[in-house]
Each structure stands twice: as structure tokens, then as C-alpha cells.
Symmetry: C2
Subunit: 189 residues, 2 copies
DNA sequence: ACCTTAAAGCAAACCTGTTGCTTCTGGGGG
DNA sequence: CCCCCAGAAGCAACAGGTTTGCTTTAAGGT
């Protein structure tokens, strides 16, 4: 998101959105590797130099678009209990992130991200979702672990394996991580 | 490493090593962003097309070099006990990986890695080191967790935070992860 | 309505990345 | 020991992506 807040109502905003749209359309049409800045510029009705000046290069533009796509569009479903909420969320997270498309977005997001702000944003999305789940659990009177603890015990292992060790990663593993977290955390209740 | 085993004694090997050396030298001289294939080729006394044909593009070449640099050069030190061995290893791992240089290498390794083999290699390095520690502990008669468990509880959280959430990551956090792992795992002894 | 300023358009220069073909090196067979 | 073969590097020309200085346009404030 590094370069988004620019005169929200004006021409910049139109260009921004036209470019993002062009990226998404062309990605579907010509594939991830067929994307080039001049091509995107043409589709967006913009000159290449505009893109280079605003985003720096293709990787940073793709990083912006990727982060946008990794934003959860809906709050985590309420299954009536912390364990089932977390389990369902972890399974869905894994599903989305481990898919070829998800992996590509994660890579893109990390790739064109000199200062780490896009990666931070992704992590914040996950943390927010977890926070919603934990808050709900607390309101029910359930004992809950810390957000950071959930990040360390569930999100991090899933993401690490997606990036470095895809083999043997499945929904069962995700469930195991959540179970391990809640078991080890029982003392805190 | 994907493209290294090529006629070990011949010209290919010389080119390989000349190019790798050139990358390391130039990275120190002109910085990560100043690197270009033609520049590296010139320093290595090679034509650009050679590099393009062997490595594909700059990112894949950098990925190869990065993985080489991420290989641990020494076995983990023996501190006489599982807890201290793991703690020391985790602290050192964090030190090396969280440094600006380490982060750059990780990013490079992930970046130019279409099939995930370089990332897998990095993960294997860590797993091997942990295996050495666990084997040593088992020989002492200590109860030990599984390698995969250590990866999930220590390596993954560290790596996830290095990539996505650098804030508040320090040696204390690393120690806490190891402590949490061993506490939760006490039952297995 | 004007004025300021940031961002987009334009066009030319530059350089990276690509490719077909040739040349050379090193290993294996006769 | 020499010759032949396959693979890899050199070379050169080309296509296209990237950079940059200058001009023009459009938002927003006065």
C-alpha cells in the first residue's frame, strides 16, 4: 500500500485504479509472466513513464496489487467456540495461501517490497482476523491466548511451510497446530 | 544450487566460480541494487549471454549465490544439554538471518526460485542443524521433540517474523520460543 | 476565477535481455 | 594416441523495456 494515498478524488486516484485493474485483467489474460509495464500502461490508458514514476518498477507494482488481493474480504465466521473458530480460520487461511495463486501473491508481495511495509500489511491482516476471533472468545468468557502467541504457533508455521517446505502440508497439519496451541495454553484459562 | 553440477573439472566449473565470485565482489562494491548481468559478466570475464543461458536471469543467479551463503559453515556447538544447545542455536540463527544481509539473502533465495528448490534447501539446512542437536540430546538420554516440531515452534516463528513482522523480534523472543517448546513437550520425555 | 504544485504525457537515449550462429573445450571411442 | 561428438561459451545484431528532461494538464487552495 506504500503509494496509495494520493489525492483520493483526483486524477491520481483514477490512474491508480485504472492501473490496478489493468494488472488484474492482463494477469488473467496473458499470465503472470506475460506482464510488462508498457503492456499494462497501454491497457490502463496511461504512459509507461507514469507507472515507473509512481511505482518504481514492475515488481513493486505487482507487490501493491498482491497485497490488495491478500486482504481478507470478510470477517472470520463464528462457529460458537474458540477452538472451532480458530481451526476453521486456519484451514481457510491455508487453503487460500497454499494455492498456486496464493503462493504467487505472497511471493509478489514480498518481492517488490524494499521497506517491508507490504509484508507487514499482510501480517497485519492475519493478526486482525485472529484478534476478532479472540475477542469474540473473550466475550464468551473463554480463556484466550495472546494474538502474538497464535501468530507464532499457527500463522508462522503455516506460512513458513508454504514458502520453504510445501511437502506434507495439509488441513490436518493446520488442525494439529491449533490443537497444540490450545492444549499447551490450557493453563491460561 | 539447481544448476551447479556441470562437468566439475572443466571450463563450465571455472565460469561458474568466476561468476559467483564476481557477484560477491560486486555486491560489496556497488551494492545489491547496482548489480546487473552485463556488469557481472564483464567482471567475470564472460559474455552476458553465457549467464543468461546458464541461469536464466539475474534473480535466479542471485538466488543461487544466496543459498550458497545461507549454508551453515559449522555444526552447532555442543553446550552439554538440549535446552542450551537449542537456545544458542536459535539465537545464532536469528542473528544471522535477521541482519540486513541475512534478510537480503533470504529474499534473494526465495525470489529467483521458480520451483522452490532453493527455498527447500534453506529449510533443509536448518532442519539438518536441528537434527544434529536432537540426535546429540537423544544420545545423552534426554527426551527430545521431533525435528518437525522444532521447525514449527522455533524456526518458523523466527523466519515468519523476519520476513513479515520484524518489530519486536530479538534474542529474548527466540529464547522464549525454545522455552515454550521444551515446556510444552515435557510430557514426551 | 486565479495560482500553485504535483502528477501525467511525450519523446529520445540508453541499456538490458534475447537469439541464431559460430567457435572452442573437454570427454569418450576407435 | 588421435579423432569425433556434445555441450557450453563467444559474438553480434536486434527487440523491447527502462530512464530522463521537458512540457502540459488538472486538483485544490486562496
Amino acid at each position: 500500500m506504500s503509494r496509495q494515498m494520493v489525492r483520493p478524488g483526483g486524477r491520481s486516484a483514477r490512474v491508480q485504479s485504472a492501473v490496478h485493474t489493468a494488472v488484474r485483467e492482463l494477469e488473467a489474460e496473458v499470465g503472470r509472466d506475460g506482464l510488462t509495464v508498457p503492456l499494462i500502461a497501454q491497457r490502463a490508458g496511461v504512459t509507461p513513464s507514469t507507472i515507473y514514476r509512481r511505482w518504481g518498477d514492475l515488481t513493486q507494482l505487482l507487490s501493491d496489487v498482491a497485497v490488495e488481493r491478500l486482504r481478507p474480504d470478510t470477517a472470520p465466521r463464528d462457529h460458537g467456540g474458540l477452538a472451532s473458530d480458530l481451526t476453521a480460520w486456519a484451514e481457510q487461511f491455508l487453503d487460500e495461501m497454499a494455492s498456486p495463486a496464493g503462493r504467487a501473491y505472497i511471493r509478489d508481495a514480498l518481492l517488490g517490497d524494499p521497506d517491508g511495509s507490504n509484508a507487514g500489511q499482510c501480517s497485519a491482516y492475519a493478526a486482525d482476523q485472529i484478534d476478532v476471533i479472540l475477542t469474540r472468545a473473550a466475550e464468551r468468557g473463554e480463556g484466550t491466548p495472546d494474538v502474538e502467541t497464535v501468530v507464532d504457533h499457527v500463522v508462522a508455521p503455516l506460512m513458513y511451510r508454504i514458502l520453504f517446505r510445501p511437502a506434507g502440508l495439509d488441513a490436518a497439519h493446520a488442525r494439529g497446530l491449533v490443537a497444540g496451541l490450545l492444549a499447551g495454553n490450557a493453563a491460561e484459562t
